[in-house]
Amino acid sequence: MAHFDPNAKPFSHKWLNERLGVDTLKRVLSTEYWIPKNINFLWAMGMVLAATFGVLLISGIFLLMYYVPTTKEAFDSVNYTIMSQVGYGWLWRHVHAVAASVVFLIIYIHMLTGIYYGSYKRGRELIWISGMLLFVAFSAEAFSGYMLPWGQMSYWAGMVITNLFSLGSLNLNGLVEWIRGDYVPGQAFLGRFFMLHVVLIPLFIIGLIVLHFGTLRLPHVNNQDGEEFDFEAEAEKWKAGKRKESKVIPFNPVFLSKDVFVMGIYFIFFFYLVFYHFEFAMDPVNFDPANGLKTPPHIYPEWYFLWSYEILRPFSKNIGLIAFGFAQVIFFLLPFLDRSPNVAPANRRGIFKIWFWLLVIDMVGLTILGKLPPVGTWTIVGTVFADVFIALWIALPFVTKMEKPVGGK
């Protein structure tokens, strides 16, 4: 039983310490949470993501106060009430829409950073897997949120994506209708996606973020060279004042100071988009109200789904679905498909370096192709890129198996 000083003033430092262990919390979570010193700005992407999630949460709360989740009023509650009546409603909406799009850019950078530096193996498998779960949760959050303005793109994206659940020739139309609560996306559909967007998925995301941070604690953050060292010994050096010799820095304030600087640059970019360049995140087509009797001439998902959409598109219905399913799960398996023991940046891993850059180029290519009309040459090029994507992942275990061990730095 802990000792409680009867003379401690309520809410004084001592009083709080005895009840809440504030000193321990501060030590464990910030001043003695050790981060490697050998890092670059890509290591700030985690905090940038956390900040962006915070921005989404806050702007979302203000939108929620005026949004009406009915098929009759949703469109006007967003485009009239929020955009022209509510004080700074337009700001929250622009911020929310742009953040929802930009968050995926940062997620992809964060993911590719992890792949490049091999930060998903030797104890870090769960970091990767919880991160991928976050990616899936964010995707679901983005999709459900995209339904809410109930514009043409909302409606038709809802139609197309829910139709995927008929699972091709299995023709599970009953399942599709169950998901929609109707034959087509309608009131029931909007109501449940609204619930998912504002309650259930955010709860999952918050839980997953905690898990993601938790998985980071024991294996520690990776560094630019994949170097393994004794964190405790390095931490002792720091505490002894040998700040130059120590390979680690405390999260607060040293690591944080760099994070905040990177965040500052990020927010300049972010608010530039919010005020001057938002069309990419607020598709003009979605400013036409939903019309179940007219499909827009070009329909496409938001940019961050394009690469997987393009893997679905060039094939026949069933094969396309299988390829699509493959693309969704294959990233989860990365820690187990990579058979090399090396934790090192890709540029030191021989053939893996080629594999990595091919993957980046292929995914950028798929993303671009995914928005082009599926006609003529584009279809052929699209098939090639989709095939390359699948081939890359099939090749990964073999490529990494052949890899020679590389020493640390």
Binding site: M65, P253, V260
Partner: protein, 179 residues
């Protein structure tokens, strides 16, 4: 920890606080009533056909507004302020088109219930806690602490616009009898 280090951290923290204030301002504006709510704050009433000693209920800014064309022979009552014997002579009445009207927000000043009007007694009795008002909205019986509130109004001919402050309203306001 050098001084400069502390200084930079604190300067940044302070500046971040400034940004948070800016965001709070936007948040406050978001919480404000919408322009459509404010524009809905005007109600025009035509009093030319209001019968004598009959309660007329209207709606202004979502609240009930009670109107009575007060008869000359309204029953005397003993208002606690003692400045009148008959509601007809009360300062709180508004003259429109040669007739005197009570125009008040129909929410009891105790806890906001709507009092019922009894024309034969020329008085209001609140169903919640038994407070009573005369036909000019003056308190006859506690618990209401103050008379029924007179909303801002402006008279044009036989019409009254609620929500605008006309000279007659300003006079009542100056006399301190609107609430």
């Amino acid at each position: 920890m050098s001084d400069r280090r502390d200084f930079m951290g604190m300067a940044l923290g302070g500046f971040a606080g400034l940004g948070a204030l800016g965001a709070l301002y936007a948040a406050k504006r978001t919480w404000d009533p919408l322009p459509s709510v404010k524009a809905g704050g005007f109600t025009t009433l035509d009093l030319s056909n209001v019968p004598e000693n009959t309660l007329v209920v209207e709606k202004w800014r979502g609240k009930p507004v009670l109107i009575i064309k007060v008869p000359k022979n309204a029953k005397p009552n003993s208002a606690p302020n003692g400045n009148n014997e008959n509601a007809y002579d009360d300062k709180r009445l508004v003259t429109v088109g040669g007739h005197k009207y009570m125009i008040v927000i129909g929410l009891c000043t105790h806890l906001g219930c709507i009092p019922d009007y009894f024309p034969e007694k020329n008085k209001f009795i609140c169903p919640c806690h038994g407070g009573q008002f005369n036909a000019a909205g003056e308190v006859l019986k506690a618990p209401p602490p103050s008379p029924l509130v007179i909303p801002p109004f402006k008279i044009t001919g036989t019409k009254v616009v609620l929500g605008e402050e006309g000279p007659e309203y300003k006079k009542l306001l100056a006399a301190g009898v609107v609430s």
